[in-house]
């Protein structure tokens, strides 16, 4: 049945993530997660797909982005990429099949055919300071890690606990790990940061937002 779909989940995802008991477990984990609803999904894509994504993303042009909040390199939104493989991945992420899958595991209705997606490259000293990601349309923030960094290398994603709706301290940290997918619900409490990278190993991700219905 799935083989007739233009973007079958089985082409891209680790088959373990398609088992019904796994989907049920993810639904529960997402809602229970602290400090705010999120999921960390290791080995999410098929390994060869993740490797190919890294290989193709490295061919894209990255631009230095710098403000009070961040310093890193980023590609343009991949909706305009000429790279055939990245185009396919972009189409897969916004496909009815994948958006329905994400809507199910997050118990959150997200829009098909609509997302932001860009490649991001952090080098030594690069960082993203605390913010909540809130902007019109942004429903779910996501990132695919395409390289791995050790704890001593910095570059962790830090999620903030809040008190009286104000972020206080980082209560959960995730080190970037190759082929790990992280998602969280954008809300007034979704304060997070990327800690300064203190290594010459590049921290490369594909990240963006799914939009609301």
């Amino acid at each position: 049945m799935e083989k007739s779909l233009p973007y079958p989940l089985t082409t891209w995802l680790n088959p373990d993530y398609l088992l019904s008991e796994k989907i049920l477990a993810l639904q529960k984990s997402f809602l229970k997660a602290k400090p705010f609803p999120h999921l960390q999904l290791p080995n999410f894509l098929k390994k060869e797909i993740a490797s190919k994504l890294l290989q193709e993303l490295k061919r894209e042009q990255f631009y230095l982005k710098e403000s009070d909040l961040f310093t890193f390199f980023q590609t343009n939104d991949l909706i305009s990429t000429k790279n055939h493989f990245l185009q396919n991945f972009h189409s897969f992420l916004k496909s009815p099949e994948f958006t329905k899958y994400i809507s199910t595991i997050l118990s959150t209705s997200i829009k098909k055919d609509s997302l932001d997606l860009a490649g991001t490259l952090y080098l030594s000293t690069h960082h993203l300071l605390p913010h909540d990601d809130q902007l019109e349309n942004r429903k779910i923030a996501f990132m695919f890690y395409l390289t791995s960094l050790k704890k001593k290398d910095g570059g962790a994603l830090g999620l903030y606990s809040s008190k009286n709706n104000q972020p206080t301290t980082i209560s959960k940290r995730y080190q970037p790990t190759f082929n790990t997918f992280i998602l969280f619900k954008v809300s007034p409490l979704s304060f997070h940061e990327v800690e300064e990278v203190i290594t010459n190993t590049p921290r490369i991700t594909l990240s963006g937002w799914f939009h609301g219905q």
Binding site: T125, H127, P130, F191
Partner: protein, 234 residues
């Protein structure tokens, strides 16, 4: 025998007489002709009315300020979406120093306003510290124009370490503030009252500011800044 408290009083008296006998501002800045040039430079850029004066205080005075600051007890404060840095109020003694009539008169000549008060505090920024872009000012500020004052005491700073203060104008241009020890910077920005009673500098001369995150290369070095505002009337 002299107890500690008497020693402190003696040292302060000595300092006070030393301050009375010397001009505190670098003599090169004091001639009327120079002040006129400074005034002209201050008004020269409509989007960013500002002036930085290097070697502002007389050398002896600068050492005196550094020494006084070394007695302050700084407290680190962090509000993640806004700032992370260490801060202390100035001592009464330093506060009255920065409110001396000669200093207020000098600032009045540049700003062309009557300087009623200089309101400052001392800040240190080290590795991992920052101040994000913000434009809110206190509700007590009824004046429509704000004058920010930044006095830099940071020796041997490399801008590659972060820590630069940037003012962002209405066109999105980023104006870095010179980081050099013994440098005084004065910035003018307009303030309008929002409907919800908050104040914000967002009219035609909108200017907001931030201090860039300080990265690992700063190691144990710190940005040392006395910052605040001058309270003026027309």
């Amino acid at each position: 025998m002299v107890n500690n408290s008497s020693k402190n009083n003696l040292s302060k008296k000595k300092n006070q007489s030393f301050l009375r006998s010397s001009p505190i501002i670098n003599r090169n800045y004091l001639p009327d002709q120079t002040i006129n040039k400074i005034k002209y430079s201050f008004r020269d850029n409509n989007d960013f009315p500002s002036i930085s004066l290097i070697n502002f205080f007389d050398k002896k005075i600068y050492f005196f300020i550094q020494k006084e600051l070394s007695h302050l007890k700084l407290i680190h404060q962090k509000n993640p979406p806004l700032y992370s840095y260490s801060r202390s109020h100035l001592t009464k003694y330093l506060n009255s120093f920065f409110n001396r009539e000669d200093l207020r008169n000098f600032l009045a000549k540049i700003s062309e306003r009557n300087v009623k008060k200089v309101d400052l505090s001392y800040s240190q920024f080290s590795h991992k510290d920052y101040m994000l872009l913000h434009d809110l000012v206190s509700k007590e500020e009824k004046d429509s124009t704000r004058y920010d004052l930044i006095f830099d005491l940071t020796p041997n700073w490399n801008k590659e370490w972060g820590g630069t203060i940037f003012y962002v104008d209405r066109l999105g241009n980023h104006h870095p503030i010179l980081s050099y020890p013994n440098t005084l910077t004065l910035i003018e920005r307009k303030i309008i009252k929002r409907k919800n009673n908050d104040f914000s500098s967002e009219d035609s001369a909108k200017l907001t500011y931030y201090l860039k995150y300080i990265n690992q290369h700063a190691k144990n070095k710190k940005r040392l800044l006395i910052m605040g505002r001058i309270i003026t009337s027309k």
